[in-house]
Amino acid sequence: MVCIQPVAPTTAQPDARGYFGHYGGRFVPEALIAALDELTTAYTDARSDPKFTARLNGLLADYAGRPSPITEAPSLSEHAGGARIVLKREDLNHTGSHKINNVLGQALLTERMGKPRVIAETGAGQHGVATATACALLGLQCVVYMGEVDTQRQALNVARMRLLGAEVVPVTTGSRTLKDAINEALRDWVTNVDTTHYVLGTVAGPHPFPVMVRDFHRVIGLEAREQMLARYGRLPDAVTACIGGGSNAIGIFHPFLDDPAVRLVGFEAAGDGVDTGRHAAALSAGAPGMLHGALSYLLQDSDGQTVEAHSISAGLDYPGVGPEHSWLKDTGRAEYRPITDAQAMDAFQLLSRTEGIIPAIESAHAVAGALQLGAELGAGALLLVNLSGRGDKDVDTAVKWFDLLEGQP
């Protein structure tokens, strides 16, 4: 039996001001500081409250379906230089992605703080769906901000959120994607902070979000580590995940941080290619700067203006990244590499056809990365891939993409 300890204390902690090395902090208007302090206190108390832990673990097990299994992918592995690929099946969670882990934790915190209203941003719509779901379950009012471009390419998830009773607000400013949805959510929060909790969907944002969201997702790595040991009698040689803001990646990486033999490799969205300028690879091609409340690697121009990201994947289409990943990059404990739209879509199709698993396009970046890594490490290597979500939401995009390239429906 896998033991679930989503709020167990961790070894690598930020300092009291929320810095992982040079990265993190709170670059937000003073108006939000009281709410961030309140959240920090509520979270700190909840972590050491056995009732909170029991309630969260109960929901994760009985409602979300944890633990999620691991699945070996032998036919996919034939395309990976003979390395064995094992998938951590976050796609099988209720609502279809890892996002539910964090959302259930924050929804319970919202209740604990006595706030009746929740706001969230969403890119792919998976975080929005998870938040709408938790709000339906707990009777909270829910408003989700979503870039207009994303409401179109992830229309299925807009419908799901509305079915669940959430209000979905299309955001028409800036690049009309995830970055601008977060801006709008922050504006709402500044205005309604007395009654409202902002359920941020990734490990970015001001302290305490990066550490809190990470801790809620550590369950992924804690389970996977035990599952690997139980089934293979050893740890994997490498763990891979896709990087949007970095929540599914940090969730699976973190419990392996103190296993130096395990390589941790994150795959960013390279869009049309890092050298084209049309990409979302903040760690590969950005420089440290502030966005949405934290100092971290960022795509920005020579004047410190945020540069628009580009990716076929709405969930990775973000010019920033969580601060802990910046620190893991600088310290060398984790590596980050780019995967183009084309590479991700090839992996999307390959996993569907070889294993009968249609991944989210986000997760397909991690699969593509594992294929590369497998070819480098060769036969005998054991790779663990975080399959962060399922691809139902992406069928429209896939139809268009493959039509374009092959003329096949």
Binding site: R26, F27, P29, A34, T191, N192, G293
Partner: protein, 267 residues
Amino acid sequence: MTARLAPMFEACGAQQRAALIGYLPAGYPTVDDSRSLLYAMLDGGCDLVEVGVPYSDPVLDGPTIQAAADAALRGGVRLRDVLSVVESIAGAGGRAVVMTYWNPVHHYGVDAFARDLAAAGGLGVITPDLIPDEAQDWLAAARAHDLDRIFLVAPSSTDQRLAMTASVTRGFLYASSVMGVTGARDVVSGTASELVGRAREHAPGLPVGVGLGVRNGAQAAEVAAFADAVIVGSAFVTAAADGGPPAVRALAADLATGVRRPAPQPA
């Protein structure tokens, strides 16, 4: 050292009135036009202008200022243009501070920015998304280049944070009148006078300016009854868009009349 803005507050105090501070983003609608608009503001009766740095992700701004910043960025405004606008105003004898989100300054180099702003004749910086807790390098640079550092406080600020923020502020403390983003509002909220009262308890002698929502002379008079400065932003942007420098001059004149006849009760 005394605040660069101390003479302004002394002069206004001698006239027993609040100061009038107007905001417009540099580069809106073009760099040259923004110069003319800022001159019109001073001409109409503003004691100080806030020259805004247009930024891609202005989370404390409502739709009016967002749209102006977007237009300025599309027009290609650069940080060095902002400095040149400040230089023009100072050269013409006007007082200017810069209002900026922090990443452009961080990227430029905090000390280099302070140096170049001081050289351009700027008097200080308003920092909407930089709290004192994160401002070590800015405070050092501001001291080195003798610039005022104008931090924001909000109705949600605890007394402890008010005191801490006031203790590192120089020039004036910027009190947000409401919880929310910039944008003209019909009523000035009661939370503003309460916040100013709390600020005065913790920082006797430090001028307190009130912003967010003021759009006409009557509201300016209301705010002037309890604050040392009335700060107007979105209404100037709207005036600039609708009627250019003449409309901006007229609004400044209306507001300037307002700060000279403080009304204790809503008009």
